[in-house]
């Protein structure tokens, strides 16, 4: 074994080498595939993942904002909880603790693309929200 092998663990620790307990301290927001538009509404599920790519079943608080003119809410009987801003373009939510998901419903009476972005807010943990959701309303 050479010295390069001996120092390798110091310089090449990869995400896949994180323990699940460690990885579960970090939440990444991912969006599912949006449903078909019906009555000016599109349903889509937000799912938390850990850096290993596994579903992260935890209650995480997030702030969602979207294009002006559209509004956001929880799907009927959907997973998750709206904490404030229901039926508005600025929503504070908590994901379902057993699934780590939130079933979002976006309403827009116009024609065009509605963008939804997430972010950390009061009470959030380590959360990554770099994925933008674009919904096309016809």
């Amino acid at each position: 074994m050479g010295i390069a092998d001996a120092v390798k663990p110091v310089k090449e620790v990869a995400i896949s080498e994180m323990s699940q307990e460690f990885a579960d301290k970090f939440a990444l927001v991912e969006w599912g595939t949006p449903g078909a538009e019906a009555d000016d509404k599109i349903a889509v599920t937000l799912q938390l993942k850990n850096p290993l790519g596994d579903d992260l079943a935890t209650a995480e608080r997030l702030r969602l904002t979207c294009t002006t003119g559209a509004t956001m809410s929880l799907q009927a009987a959907g997973n998750g909880t709206v904490l404030s801003g229901d039926d508005s373009d600025d929503l504070i939510l908590e994901t379902d603790e057993t699934t780590g998901s939130f079933d979002l419903e976006v309403t827009y009476a116009g024609v065009g693309t509605v963008s939804v972005v997430g972010g950390a807010t009061q009470g959030s943990g380590f959360v990554g929200c770099r994925e933008v959701l674009d919904l096309t309303f016809a």
């Binding site: 010295i3 090449e12 080498e17 950390a120 009061q122 009470g123 959030s124 943990g125 380590f126």
Partner: protein, 157 residues
């Protein structure tokens, strides 16, 4: 040439019994084994977790509560960091003996900075007999913050 500059270290000369037994020969770390406790201190302190002390009664309408930043291993993050603190609108928040207010002092929406020990003492004032919820979040200039822990401050008699 110093004997400490590394040039006397020959590849392959490291005694195997001096390596951490957790590190298998060949330098590979098994998947799923790295924990927060294995991170270097300089990396650990980049991730700050909010924790709370117990509220203290000052007088019937005033309580203090202390926020402490800790790293992922549970050790204090001894650094000044900016946080946003909010509470129910029946109460106000001010900075006590530790930390400093940057904006919103004596309101329900405070931007504040911990002191060099990573500590922020809050003075919560309320004239009603209720339980006030206090939440922390990241704001401009905040580090990576885990603010999932909130605090409840009771003003019930």
């Amino acid at each position: 040439m110093s004997r400490l500059d590394g040039k006397f270290i020959k590849p392959g000369s490291i005694p195997q019994d001096r390596l951490d037994p957790e590190i298998p020969l060949g330098g590979e770390i098994p998947p799923g084994t790295v924990t927060a406790e294995m991170l270097a201190a300089a990396l650990l302190e980049r991730f700050a977790v909010v924790s709370w002390g117990a509220p203290a009664v000052v007088d019937p309408t005033t309580r203090t509560i202390t926020l402490q930043l800790a790293d992922l291993a549970g050790d204090p993050v001894e650094a000044t960091h900016v946080v946003r603190v909010t509470c129910d609108d029946q109460a106000t928040l001010a900075v006590g003996e530790a930390g400093s207010a940057l904006a919103g002092d004596v309101t329900e929406d405070l931007i504040a900075q911990t002191d060099a020990a990573g500590t922020l003492q809050l003075v919560v004032s309320c004239t009603e007999e209720v339980v006030i919820s206090v939440a922390v979040g990241p704001t401009q200039l905040s580090p990576m913050l885990d603010c999932r822990a909130g605090a409840d401050v009771s003003f019930n008699a």
